[in-house]
Symmetry: C2
Subunit: 163 residues, 2 copies
Amino acid sequence: MSARAIPYRPHNHDACVSQALSDARAICQRQNARLTPIRERVLELIWQSHKPLGAYDVLAELSSDGHNAAPPTVYRALDFLQQHGLVHRIASLNAFMGCTHAGETHTGMFLICRACGNVLELTAPSVSEEVRKAASEEGFQAENTTLEIAGLCPRCQVEPDHD
Amino acid sequence: MSARAIPYRPHNHDACVSQALSDARAICQRQNARLTPIRERVLELIWQSHKPLGAYDVLAELSSDGHNAAPPTVYRALDFLQQHGLVHRIASLNAFMGCTHAGETHTGMFLICRACGNVLELTAPSVSEEVRKAASEEGFQAENTTLEIAGLCPRCQVEPDHD
DNA sequence: GCAGAATTTGAAACATTATAACATTTCCAG
DNA sequence: CTGGAAATGTTATAATGTTTCAAATTCTGC
C-alpha cells in the first residue's frame, strides 16, 4: 500500500461528513429525489464515524435529538438512502454505513476490522470481474454482490483496540 | 459452462442428503466432535433442499418431529455445524445451508437465485486471490470472507418460478 | 392560488431472528 | 461407579425488521 486509507488514519472527520452531505444533496437534486430533513439527518448520523451504525442506534440518536421516531421512520429513511446509493447495508453486521463512492456506479467491497470496528469501502474492479466470471461459468446471471471481509485493519495489527 | 451444477438440474436429492450425512459423521469422528442426534437431525433438515433454511424453519420441523425444542437448541446445533464446516450461514438471508465442500478448506461463494431460492456454493480460488490481494493493498489482513451473489440461476433465466 | 393526487411521515402493533442465564441431563475418563 | 465436562432443556428477553392504516406534507395540473 502507498498511504493508509482514510478510516485508518487521523483525519478531520467533519470534512467527511459535510462532503458526504453536499454530495448527497447534489445527487438527489440530479435524480429529482427529495432529501427531506429526516433523511438528511439519518445520513448525517450514519456518517458520524467510519463504523457502521445499526438502525436502532440511529433511532436512539434521533430520540436524543428530541425527535420521537419509531422504527419505520428509520428504516424508510435508510431504504431511501440505499436506493439512491448514499448508504450501504452491511449484511454481516446488520448495520449501515455511508457510501464513499456515491454517484459512481460501483460494487462495494467492505473491509471490516474486527478490533476497532471501522470499515473501509473499496471498489475493486478485478474482484468484481472475477466474481462475474465465476458466476457466468455456472450460467448464473449476477445482479447484486455482497462482499464483506472481516479481519484486522493496519492499525489494529499493531496496537489493538484504539478508538 | 459445461454441465449445469447440481442444484440447477433434476437429481436424486436423497443421495445428496445421505452423502452429506455420512461425510459429516466421518468429519466429526476425525475431529473428535460429537454429532449427536439433534445435531445430525438439524443437518439433515438443512439438507432437505438446496434452499437455505431459517433457524425457525428448522425449529418448526423439529416440532413436527414431536421434539419440543426451543430456539437455543437450534442455534446451538447450527453453531456446532458451522464450527465444523458442515453448514454455512447466508448473511444476506439470515439462513443456513449445507456445505457442499465439507472437509476441504475453502472460501465459499454463494450464488443465490432470487426466483427459485436455490443456492449454489462455489469455490473460486481466483476470486479469493483477488480479494486477498485487494485487501492486502490496503494493509488489511483478511480472515473471513462473506461473498454472496444474488441473481438468476440458469433455469430461472428461462422459465421463472419453478420448484 | 387551489383542488386533488401522490409522496412522506406518524403511530401502534406485531413478526422475525438471536441470545442470556441458569437448571438438568448425558457422557465419558479414571 | 463417580466426578467433571459437555450437551440439552427451559424461560425469558434482546435485537432487528415489517405491516397497516391514519395524518400531514408536497407536488401537479388547472
